[in-house]
Amino acid sequence: MISINPFSEIGTFIPSFVMQTYVVAMFLLVIGATIFDVIHKKSAKYFFNNSVKAKKSATRNVGSGEKASLAFKTATNEVLTSSEFCSTRRRLAHLLTMYGFVLFVIATAVMIFSYSAPNSMTPSIWPLMWHLGAAMLCLGGYWFWFFIRVDVAAEGNKWYRVMRADLFVLSLIAMATFALIWSYLQSSQIAIWQTLFFGLFIISSTVLFGGVLWSKFAHMFYKPAAAYQKRVTKADGSRENLPEPADLPEKFGLGIKREAPRHY
């Protein structure tokens, strides 16, 4: 199962250009909806005004070299290793879903654009990456959904209480789950169920990529911008009006670490 390209298997029923058009349409939907979202919610304007305000209370100038170094640090810390999360569990779950999503999307694009013809020979690395990405998405996603999600962990709600904020994570988990089930059924040659789960896979991925306006999909674009701005404010001394760190030695150590929010 994990070494078979599921898209070349269905290539006999669905022409390659249809699959490729679908991928391009999803890509355009994400870009278009994100740009519309930025304009509609005025988030770019907010970020710009915020940086102008921060500059006024800056105590020192940050040069372009230093800014580049801050951008690099943001990329290596906040983007690549999700260091902004204070909870290790959340960070791990986020890294699993993030890298799972990246692997899954890249492998899907490569397999559809290069190896979706019925008799094409797919290098085994791509199906392997696709299945690994889906499995990582499922692992991180279900861990988050059942145990880490703030509604469950801090608000004390049940895992089955669904609301609009769940659109992103639910469609993500559904896409990965249906993809794995579809791939399994395809390798087991169960035709009817295979078609059903392929349909569910397409519906969930369409909701994921087409629902950017209503979900928090766009956080993957604006979170790095917010993290970078935070680093700049620390470097230029404005510190978002926060006090300077106390000039005192570490007195109590980690024994004083705040408790995890689970008092329900």
């Binding site: 204070c86 801090a154 007195k251 008092h263």
Partner: protein, 156 residues
């Protein structure tokens, strides 16, 4: 001064939801970030402000005595055991305050209620709270005011 949340700084960890004694810090149903759902009911304890690991919660002053443009921000450093406050006035003046979180090593003075004797009905009906009057350091007990000493014009 009720609190509010900067949505771009909040990561939805739930520490403020957990600590709020008024139960008014909740997670927004659309964007899963913290929000003060009822600022009028905020009793301004600043628990959420201090607990927020992202410094995403701030206090908004009432405009009659704290005009727009001011800022009150707090930084809690657990390892050092300190809380720093920075008050920035509208005209640019600043005041900084630094306080200890506790004057005792953490964990030493936490009462272990489970080890106390179970209170009887008389103790439960009493107006005294747990550890009172001993914890108040009043050797003669709590002061009692007789009814004839109460404010004139108030009837019981």
């Amino acid at each position: 001064m009720p609190t509010f949340v900067y949505m771009t700084r909040c990561d939805g960890c739930g520490h403020c939801v957990d600590i709020c004694p008024s139960d008014i810090m909740h997670i927004d149903k659309t964007i899963r970030r913290a929000v003060n759902i009822e600022p009028n009911m905020c009793w301004e304890c600043y628990s959420c402000v201090k607990a927020c690991p992202q410094n995403a919660i701030d206090a908004r002053g009432y405009t009659d005595f704290a005009p727009l443009g001011h800022s009150v921000r707090v930084l809690r450093e657990e390892e050092k055991g300190t809380i720093s406050w920075k008050i920035k006035f509208r005209d640019g003046r600043e005041k900084n305050f630094l306080s200890p979180i506790t004057t005792q090593p953490w964990g030493e003075k936490i009462p272990k209620l489970g080890e106390l004797e179970v209170p009887d009905q008389e103790a439960l009906d009493s107006q005294l709270l747990c550890f009172e009057p001993d914890a108040l350091n009043v050797e003669t007990g709590l002061p009692v005011i007789s009814k004839d000493k109460l404010k004139e014009g108030v009837y019981y």
